[in-house]
Symmetry: D2
Subunit: 263 residues, 4 copies
Amino acid sequence: MCRWIAYRGETTALEHYVTEPAHSLISQSINALEATASVNGDGFGLGWYGEHPEPGLYREVRPAWSDENLRYLCRHLRSHLFFGHVRAATAGSPITRPNCHPFACGTWMFMHNGFVGNWSRLRRQVEALIPDQLYPARVGTTDSEAVFLAMMGAGIEHPVEAAEKTLARLTDFVNQNEPGDRLRFTAALSNGRDLYAFRYAVNDKANTLYYRESDNGIVVVSEPLDREHKNWVRVPEGHAVVALHDERARVVPLFHRHQVAAE
Amino acid sequence: MCRWIAYRGETTALEHYVTEPAHSLISQSINALEATASVNGDGFGLGWYGEHPEPGLYREVRPAWSDENLRYLCRHLRSHLFFGHVRAATAGSPITRPNCHPFACGTWMFMHNGFVGNWSRLRRQVEALIPDQLYPARVGTTDSEAVFLAMMGAGIEHPVEAAEKTLARLTDFVNQNEPGDRLRFTAALSNGRDLYAFRYAVNDKANTLYYRESDNGIVVVSEPLDREHKNWVRVPEGHAVVALHDERARVVPLFHRHQVAAE
Amino acid sequence: MCRWIAYRGETTALEHYVTEPAHSLISQSINALEATASVNGDGFGLGWYGEHPEPGLYREVRPAWSDENLRYLCRHLRSHLFFGHVRAATAGSPITRPNCHPFACGTWMFMHNGFVGNWSRLRRQVEALIPDQLYPARVGTTDSEAVFLAMMGAGIEHPVEAAEKTLARLTDFVNQNEPGDRLRFTAALSNGRDLYAFRYAVNDKANTLYYRESDNGIVVVSEPLDREHKNWVRVPEGHAVVALHDERARVVPLFHRHQVAAE
Amino acid sequence: MCRWIAYRGETTALEHYVTEPAHSLISQSINALEATASVNGDGFGLGWYGEHPEPGLYREVRPAWSDENLRYLCRHLRSHLFFGHVRAATAGSPITRPNCHPFACGTWMFMHNGFVGNWSRLRRQVEALIPDQLYPARVGTTDSEAVFLAMMGAGIEHPVEAAEKTLARLTDFVNQNEPGDRLRFTAALSNGRDLYAFRYAVNDKANTLYYRESDNGIVVVSEPLDREHKNWVRVPEGHAVVALHDERARVVPLFHRHQVAAE
């Protein structure tokens, strides 16, 4: 199980969120409070938007906690919208840079905490959702990248609808068998201007998703950056966070009709 | 364009072929005599058979010439059948360990110098040749690994026929367009007992293939390890080297009817 | 705090001790039972003796638990005397291959769990113990490598005396200030034939050291490989394990006069 | 022999100098026009100044030409003063990140193309030039880092004098033997505001040094970025380039009395 953080707001140095807080993403890479996998040492990644319309990426296979490059970059990179991710690999996906989050495709960026259960069986079906013209962008082998590219092909200009279409297909896939396979999808998506986050699961409990908003911006996380839990809004299962440019964030139900499971 | 060496014979330390000769594979990684790409610094790999029926692999994304681990391993690993490969990546395949040669699947091992032209267009067709039960073994994104797994699914117990079947499909694929795309396939394959090598091309000149045989064993290479060219048999295009256990190597035409192009 | 294992006995595949047991060194790299640092993800190393008089080394900066090369090597490498080490770096020593254990110098091999306290202050004094002719072997920057090379220069042909001489100097160094700096030294040393291990500390409690001996060989570890604690002999502080070729291991006090602290 | 570039001027994206030109630093990493070592694949580094008084560093052991992180960073990082360096390691210095240039110490940054001949013999003498309080900053093992830290201790607030003092000591060291050892020193140094470059050699020909200045800034390089040689000023041996903030660059002789060798 991975850990991630997404920020959108006033331009700031990444270090204020990625490396500095006592319970920053980097601290979480060694010891996550809520995660079931206590070590996230299987690579990490940063993605950020600057003046260029396409995001920058820094991804590395070493643990985040010992990467001196990461500390320099978090001190010097400033951005109004950035992602950070530390990975605990699921079996079967090798630790390579292209398998580290976030993923970029054109002006879009995506990262994920979760999995498509029974991936060996479902991989071909999920990859088939990727349109031909985007298939060259499939440079890794993770379920996460495949789901992102499927969303790209499902009409990404309407991100919530694209997520719903893709999640509906994935739900069908995992329910092909009896009992169904598990799906966990706690993800962030952005075009450099708007920020979206999703919390969804099938045949399983969803991974956590929180956010904290102020006049200066919004921080969306898989796990709170501090123990002041009252500062953090817990997003219910089957919901998305929509943080449009210059608007306050809204929490919207996925599929409009989704029944939130009792937690 | 990559460089490789395959050895089968008396058990020996790998260093005698991989790191020691003046024109060893490692020397070739910095400066190949015949190759068009003069630097093979995009990762490398060793594969070898020992007491375990499945081969061992050591693959690394750094250049071979500066890898201290490689020197230790070549001094200490002894084998009767081993492969070594240095890579010059073609555009589009990231430098990751799973994208480095050789590749292993069960008891089989494979490495390749060449490419499937227009890979972005043909990738899905080639990947579709991989049987479902072998698709989880697709841990990288190279054309080479996909072709290997396609061969595995085409009846690998008869390696020349499996190669012919797979190359026939690839030939169809590259000839779908007018003018046709290019295909270069100079590869080695083994089950730990028998050694096979192939030299083939479509719409292009094939990459070179040589071998040298003695009472002690056979060495098959993409490029001679020394300048004594008279010691090396040049394998013609459209042919395979078949070096069965305890037999002298034979050079056989692929497709029985293949017309060798004038070189 | 690091974790390590040393084996001397019948030639065996490394996997039986390094990767396979439920509480193998690799398992310990993610979750050590007794260690204070629960993650040993700051690089690792293997060292082994074969036919060549100098040991082979495989060292890598990535965590051991995700290194596919390590699994292949542990399956294929066979040795009568080998070391394995997983590292939790102390502040100030970067994660580089030359800073990973074990270290080799000529026919000797060494690894360490511990530290020289106040290393920034003492580093030059410790490095000054390394003889000029061995200083080129100082390829990293750790306290451990410096102590090893100091021992090499203190008459390594008599390993216990060399350790005592060096530890006496280190003890003087850490006691130069009031209160004294801390020193922890739990280390293994070999020439490919005999195996030595040491447990010592100044101004601090020593890191643990255990061994298990049978007719087939001896295993010395920083932490037992299984929970059958009765199988493991706990070595007292201020003592060395001397396992000469073809003899049963002996536990000898360091400095002959050392007072074992109550544990 | 390494290759490097230093820029000071209007704030710009690094890509315009590091990755984009036909003969950019990255192109040079595979094929240097004037260098004797034709491949610079032994790691690389970027250093840059931003809002923080200390420079940022990105250093990596893989070849620059295949590093996707580098391309993203060069597109997104903007700076008024930055260094780029590709390395061809000399024997004896392992390929580690701390051994990659540039080096940083406080607000100062340094990179080097050259060597201290007979480094195994002279290393201790050069390291002894580093003041105690700076010795913890010795995180690698290269001659270049040691010379930088020696300069730091020789009064770095007057950089040309500090270089002269240090080079005088080095000159004494290499001339201790008959015939003398060789020294090559073509280096860049900055405090984030002023840029200095040096070209010097003893018992050998100095590595090249060029610069190109316009109203927008100055570029100092080990080798011109294009074949328009008339645009580039060749710095004579035994001279320094002094490019103070808001002043035009000056070329000054080292030691005031230095005799420029005929080239």
